[in-house]
Amino acid sequence: MAPLEPWEKVLINGAVFTETVHGHIDCADCHQGDQLAADKEAAHTGLVSRPSKDAETVCGECHHNILATQDSSLHNTLAGYWTVLETRSVPENHATLGEMFGNHCGTCHTTCGDCHVSQPHEVGGGFINGHVFQRTPSMTRNCTACHGSRVGNEYLGKNEGIRADVHFRQGRMTCVSCHTGAQMHGQASNCNDCHAGPVDATLPERRHRYEGIQTPSCGSCHPAATTGQDGIEMHAQHSADLSCQVCHSVTYTSCDGCHVAISERTGNPFFATEATYLTFFIGQNPIRSLQRPYRYVPVRHIPIAPTSYEFYGENLLPNFDALPTWAHATPHNIQRNTPQTESCNACHGNAEIFLTADKVKPEELEANRPVIVEIVPPLLGVTLTNGITVTNGITTTGALPPAQTTP
């Protein structure tokens, strides 16, 4: 995303904007200020440049149905961060971590305008289309402006030597093709808010993105594949115990410890990550659930270290080992054919692509015990003794046709 010139950020497309619904609203209704003042300085006194920071009052006046669910939107709550911070810390550290969060993590909080009017404030802001409200956010100027270093680079094929996601490369699908507005705006707190039902069905608050029903889900478009009913042997064998990405994603980005601080020189917050590198490792699913029953998932190293927040205080994460540093990942570089889909033994017996203990830093072994693969699935199609063959994890007797022994 190219940075905009200062004038470019605030130039309104008068011809188009004034013909839109929002163009019929008095500027001051949302932005305040004094538009009858004689000069710029006076006109901008009391100006609210990002009115949707108070979405309830400004946007909610008309879009009350969307605002009704925003408290459950992870874009709004950033609840995933707090789930991790609270799990790794102790209550007496929460206040200090709250200060850190406000200075660093909290700046990623998304407002309505950050998706529908402007480029996100965190990456410089500026109107997307002359203040004309966009029902559908721009993939590159909104979504990947924030989700760029991992998701954006993977999906658009910006990691050297790695092709773009097939959904983009061949389908020209954008983020919202899968991540619909309804998902982005949060969910109702009770099923009965939308569907008439005889019983109360209060939904639990989502604490992170892999909690609750899969939205989006590969199965929404590929139901036969995800249920193993499309005639492909690997789908029949593994649709329940492998996430789709285990076989259909390729090398993706991992990061090492992120450290945050406030600059002594400028007073601005900044961060530094220790390292960024490409990996592909299959680990055990640390959060198996009804909705994500997979035994194996891809895992990526996340930018966390015991000392990540030491600028704010010592030992702020005393329960650091409560969560893995290799986290369940859903890489956005899906391919129909990958090294894993070449044969069963691309994975079976291939310790290279599994997150085994030798690939984990010694100081992180305890934290990653839930994801480390202790025993690599054995090679298939190997005749152990005369007439006994191992295929798909099942030891059988008798000769099997080649196509079945190594599909």
Partner: protein, 96 residues
């Protein structure tokens, strides 16, 4: 004997009241018919007064034009009036 006279007097007075009451009710429709034509000018007068109402509505101030657009739709004006941006290079390193 005097008791019978009292009863007779009360009965006669009762009949007299009922008779007078019946006569007065019969007069009401006649009065209404007489009044109706007089009421018509009153309605006209009310309608005439209503003409003043739009004047009051017109007295409400019209919403001011979106003066912000005068500047914010002119590229050159924005360039000329832009505050110089302070260069504060980020000290962040690595991938965020």
């Amino acid at each position: 004997m005097s008791q019978q006279i009292k009863t007779l007097v009360f009965t006669l007075v009762g009949f007299l009241i009922l008779a007078l009451g019946a006569c007065s009710q019969a007069a009401v429709p006649i009065q209404t018919i007489t009044i109706l034509p007089e009421a018509a000018p009153t309605v006209t007068a009310v309608a005439t007064a209503a003409i003043t109402i739009p004047i009051e509505v017109a007295a409400v101030e019209e919403a001011p034009p979106n003066e912000c657009l005068v500047c914010h739709t002119e590229k050159q004006r924005l360039i000329d009036t832009a505050d110089p941006e302070e260069e504060t290079p980020s000290e962040s390193t690595g991938v965020g």
